[in-house]
Symmetry: C2
């Protein structure tokens, strides 16, 4: 879609997020912000959980997908949208396209799990299978774009996606005016970069922290090295965070995010269980990554007001409990 701006400006600004919010607010849930005295005691801070697990399609991804779909002019939209994600973005794009009344072509590997296939179908997406090889997905997507004339919507790097994801932080800062920190997970970086644009533009003193699995630490390494160093075959339970930063998300995160911190697999599972037991909400492992960074003390937040974006709640529970051993 839009290219990265080359004039030193960031590819997404606060105004873009505000425009996105006007565009999508009628379609999305303004999700609740929950608190937990019990987890506050563990962390020693005041935590505010922005619960995107209660968002439509079960994840923040619906914000970006909605913004991307409703940003298209009628002519482009008429040709439909295409993506090669098989996770939350695919479900989100399917529903956004359905609401606009256009088609969504979702490229998925032939060995994708039945749960994911069913989720995309239930939201009205049209699934096109490809060989289960990394390069096959993009090849197939290019082929479908050429044939259908549809618009490829990348899961995290397109500016309208980043602007849409930033609306969760915008909603939060509209009602909470004393945040010292915002923590989000980081995979492809759409949520973290959108959040950082909003937070730093509205309140430059807020510290924005990206949280990443040790086993998929491309953002951590990339920011350190000053160039994009993708993860190769990352092996983490946080399936939403296996993707790597793109050009736009990297350029924003590099400039706007205060720190990237890492947690291990055991800490992710531990945080997920604490959230289940204390807050009585279902979150996916990717969301638990940000909470794990707090519970296991990666940043000193003593007595601070800390916002956390709970990114989603789509988890194969049977699978998860196997991981508890």
């Amino acid at each position: 879609m839009l290219e990265m701006r080359l004039d030193g400006e960031l590819p997404v600004t606060l105004d873009d997020v505000r425009e996105a919010y006007k565009r999508i607010r009628r379609y999305i849930h303004n999700t609740p912000i929950l608190t937990s005295q019990s987890i506050d005691r563990i962390v020693g801070a005041n935590l505010l959980f922005k619960c995107e697990n209660f968002q439509k399609t079960g994840a923040f991804k619906f914000r970006g997908a909605c913004n991307a779909v409703f940003s298209l002019n009628n002519e482009k939209a008429g040709r439909g949208v295409v993506t090669h994600s098989s996770g939350n973005h695919a479900a989100a794009l399917s529903l956004a396209a359905k609401i606009r009344g256009i088609s969504a072509n979702i490229i998925m590997p032939s060995n994708a799990s039945p749960v994911k296939i069913e989720a995309v179908r239930s939201y009205g997406g049209r699934i096109i299978f490809c060989k289960p090889l990394p390069e096959a997905r993009e090849e197939k997507a290019d082929e479908v774009v050429k044939e259908s004339g549809g618009v490829l919507i990348h899961p995290s790097n397109d500016p309208p996606i980043i602007a849409g994801q930033g609306t969760a932080a915008l909603e939060m800062l509209n009602v909470i005016d004393n945040l010292d920190f915002i923590f989000t997970p980081v995979g492809g970086g759409g949520l973290l970069s959108g959040t950082s644009v909003v937070a730093k533009s509205l309140k430059p003193d807020i510290k924005v922290i990206g949280c990443e699995p040790k086993n998929a630490d491309d953002a951590y390494r990339s920011i350190k090295a000053g160039r994009i160093l993708p993860s190769v075959s990352p092996d983490t339970i946080a399936d939403g965070l296996r993707t790597s930063l793109g050009t736009n998300t990297f350029s924003i995160i590099k400039k706007m995010v205060d720190d990237i911190v890492l947690v291990d697999e055991q800490e992710i599972v531990g945080a997920m269980q604490i959230i289940f037991e204390r807050m009585k909400i279902v979150v996916e492992p990717s969301s638990a990554v940000a909470v794990a960074a707090l519970i296991y003390g990666r940043v000193d937040v003593t007595d601070k007001n800390v916002g956390i974006i709970i990114s989603g709640g789509n988890v194969d529970l049977t699978q998860f409990f196997k991981s508890l051993g």
Copy 2:
């Protein structure tokens, strides 16, 4: 505590529930009412979930326990409270007593699960172990009452408990004025009887439905027979519903409740999984019983507005997922 009234009046009235609400509202959460388009589609009705899984101590039981504890005069309160529950009532009574600054003596069998022991301890309850035999609990409780002069608070049959449990429905009817049905689970009957007093007093047309596991169907059999027929060694995953009706709850339910319906163990687990996956909230099996009655069509509620009291969220998750097989 109070005796059952013998003059034909019910042991608990709407005024009692209103008094209870004034007494406890500063200590409890006014829990959120959630909706789910996805489960609405499955059931074919408009469902409103009053989420007591987000109540303090993780269950509605905190309402009744608070009312019982704060109903005591200073002299009685000073001698502390006693109970022989090992589940949600024990945790709820411990926290209510702690808030009032009095002692709570909780009789538990020596083989109680470490999770339950830890929960009671974490809320400040003092645990007194007894032999793991049905009669040993009551004997030990009588002994502790005699020694300490403390007040025995029954988990479901005491009128202040029933009045406290009714405040969940009171909060719901304060903000939702078009309910056609209210569904609650039924174990000892405190929640169902309190709910029915409120619903039938405020809006006589509301149908009140009690939902019970087939494997612990004492309320169903008792109402049919016109006398209390307790369950003997009931075997159900819905651990909060293994108890049987008492004199007060029976007399209210007999008069005020429209129907008791039954669900089997597989339906309970199925409903619990649907709630996890679609609503992203953690509920205990007892809560799933009421939702199962709707999902598996025990009552025709087509296009109706249906309130459901989600009773609690205290579940040993590892245990639960074993039950999924």
